[in-house]
Symmetry: C2
Subunit: 147 residues, 2 copies
DNA sequence: CTTTACTCTAGTCTAGACTCTAGGGTGTAT
DNA sequence: ATACACCCTAGAGTCTAGACTAGAGTAAAG
């Protein structure tokens, strides 16, 4: 009972893998269509049949999404894993993503500083007339930093 | 020559306002459709006719976009300006946006720290086997921070 | 008068990641 | 036998902020 145990894996239908991975059934089918999941086996009546590894793959995708990767990028990462790429290839993807994230953080920090200043400059009471926030948008005082 | 000078404003066609505001003609029409710009006067042949104030309004929109506001939010701000809202209403919009920006910055910083660590943990040479980046995605070591 | 530049409407397309719909078949419990 | 949950396909719809297209009319310059 050592070899030939390929059939022992529990067979899961789409609802079960989806639930186990915390995604919707639609999402599982959508990922299949996008090539992130291989076409699964089918039952006689056409039901998709999965095993545990699909849940792991869905978790991989979820974690990668949590780190900011797009589905296209995740597909590249999965391909490197499946077909055995190089560490350098992986690093080039993550490195690019890291730069992207850094640029986005800088943008948002810039927005935060301008908006934070405007927000604290505004008394918050009375009519909109003379509101420093609106004035800044009208006059363009903030152009240097936000456009 | 003091009163009744409403007609003196230079009349601009869509291409001119678009150019002056640094947006495309499509964008001007799109904003009109979205209600960000009022329906302009039309020439006998149906051309949209604008005056200077439209350029200012487009600049307002551009600056607000630069601060991270969506077109829907910008519409609210413009309404407050047009119909005379209160400073409190303006502040509630900008305050919410500020919080949103802060949350997004935190998300991105979290991603950056996880990804930065993984990226520097990976030697970058050799096959993908044992790559700490891929391993983290497979094993879920990063779940605490990225999902 | 002709060329070139501009404008009009209505509609389609993009990216990203799903989500939903319609109209049907399957499986199991009572 | 029938109710109910589950599954199937194909395709359309969602959101954001426009970009682009076709086919046609208009304006200004030479």
């Amino acid at each position: 009972m050592s070899a030939m145990n390929a059939q022992i894996q529990p067979i899961l239908k789409i609802g079960a893998v989806a639930k186990a991975a915390g995604v919707s059934i639609d999402t599982v089918r959508f990922y299949e269509g996008r090539g992130l999941l291989p076409s699964p086996q089918r039952s006689a009546s056409g039901y998709r049949l999965y095993d545990q590894s699909t849940i792991e793959r869905l978790n991989f995708i979820g974690r990668a999404k949590g780190l900011g990767f797009t589905l296209n990028e995740i597909m590249l990462l999965l391909d490197l894993q499946d077909k055995g790429g190089s560490k350098a290839e992986v690093k080039s993807i993550t490195g690019a993503k890291l730069e992207q994230i850094e640029r986005k953080i800088e943008d948002l920090q810039r927005m935060r500083s301008v908006l934070g200043k405007l927000n604290s400059d505004c008394s918050g009471s009375g009519s909109v007339t003379g509101c420093p926030i609106i004035e800044a948008l009208v006059d363009g005082d903030s152009d240097d930093c936000c456009k």
